[in-house]
Symmetry: C2
Subunit: 262 residues, 2 copies
């Protein structure tokens, strides 16, 4: 995996913007072969785009892995997992599972897409209060094409001061905390406002990931990725939305979330 920031920076500031906005891509010579051949006629011919997913102690696994699984299959996109102070295993909120950070904050000074997953209350609060994390988020955001979050990851973006006056969403149970950051809570599966895209709780990152795939490589590619991961959801129950759930289910959901977090 390359870590040089020269080509990356060009990707961040040039080609990825062009791709995302559908602007002309003439003069961009660095299009990877697989992007040229696989993306189909609708997709922009651009250089490699870097998606940086922050992994902090106590993050929620599916918040990160849902969009990862979609975006890693988009031609010309490279996904990198970013640990805070070191590479290697990072514990999730339950303590039963770890994923591996390939890079550190210092290794990744810029990215086309910044993605902050949510986490258990302890981990998410700590990331929101960690000066190094906050400075990194603000720095990467300055050069990003898209700055995104899943679930309570929006609270971490908010702690960095990025959501003041911004329509955004989060996990249904975290709405008051999101509003405290100055964000305008908006009830949607994901909310795009300028370059900031925030997704609702945990599994909503998959839907946001597909939206990002379409922004990065066009609708045809996003549709093919959706088919590739056979995302034709058929939950055996219809209780995934706080709008539909009764109070007893909500209370039990909160208790289970709390009990499972380490």
């Amino acid at each position: 995996m390359r870590t040089s920031t020269g080509p990356r920076r060009r990707g961040v500031l040039g080609t990825a913007v062009a791709g995302a906005l559908g602007a002309a891509t003439a003069g961009i010579a660095a299009a990877p072969a697989h992007a040229r051949t696989a993306a189909g006629g609708d997709a922009p011919r651009t250089g490699e785009r870097l998606v940086a997913i922050l992994l902090y102690d106590g993050f929620t696994a599916l918040d990160a892995i849902g969009p990862y699984e979609v975006l890693c299959r988009v031609p010309g996109v490279r996904v990198v997992t970013v640990g805070v102070r070191q590479t290697g295993p990072v514990r999730t909120d339950t303590g039963e599972l770890s994923a591996v950070a390939e890079r550190t904050l210092a290794d990744v000074p810029a990215a086309d897409v910044l993605l902050i997953p949510g986490g258990g209350a302890r981990g998410q609060s700590a990331a929101g209060a960690d000066g190094a994390v906050q400075r990194w988020i603000r720095r990467v955001d300055r050069g990003s094409v898209w700055t995104t979050s899943v679930c309570t990851g929006s609270l971490i973006l908010g702690a960095a001061g990025l959501l003041r006056g911004v329509p955004a969403t989060t996990h249904w149970a975290a709405r008051p905390l999101l509003e405290e950051t100055g964000a305008v809570w908006t009830q949607r599966r994901f909310v795009e406002h300028g370059k900031i895209i925030t997704a609702a709780g945990v599994s909503a990152g998959i839907d946001m990931g597909l939206h990002l795939a379409s922004r990065l490589a066009g609708d045809d590619v996003a549709r093919a990725v959706q088919l590739g991961v056979e995302y034709d959801p058929a939950p055996p129950f219809d209780s995934g939305s706080a709008e539909k759930a009764d109070e007893r289910t909500k209370q039990l959901a909160l208790k289970l979330l709390n009990d499972a977090s380490s």
Copy 2:
């Protein structure tokens, strides 16, 4: 994390069966406190149930993490990730991400739920041809309450000889390979036949995970977990099923899957 197999074996052969079948659980003294208090009136009072998720080189991240994220929040359930020959990081099919195996095959001689994720062609074929993996699957299956797979994980179950004559599913592109194992391909999001549950491609593991949650702890808990992970899917496209996709999208999906696999 405990590794003693005494209580586990009782869980495997006794209480989990009772829970799954809704039988009386009198005489079971080992119910964890959080199961007793959080599960609600409908859930069986049982001992801890062990879910073993196999992580082999080249597995697909979401195949494992989707059901993990659901099941780790079910009271009384403990999820363990199982590497083949060693603990530590296991590479996924894209090579861009690794998850950590907490135990090895030898550490986990029995489980209440066996879960085999799918993988890229290379990884899945290798796991299906690995004698140690196959022997472990057959041994754990003999004592399991549920033996399950996601995506091409069913090909690995099939290679172990567990699917002969069994209605089952897999990733849409792997149907011919599944049929070669003697399974009866069945077009469903997930297929339950006796104690074997197979899910369709990648993201279908989330739906199967919720079904398993209901089998293990009752519908109220499954509904609460669904709300906990806010699984109210709203994909921005409707191309997740091979039945709905046109030939061009299918071909592009296959190409993207192939290009992303290491």
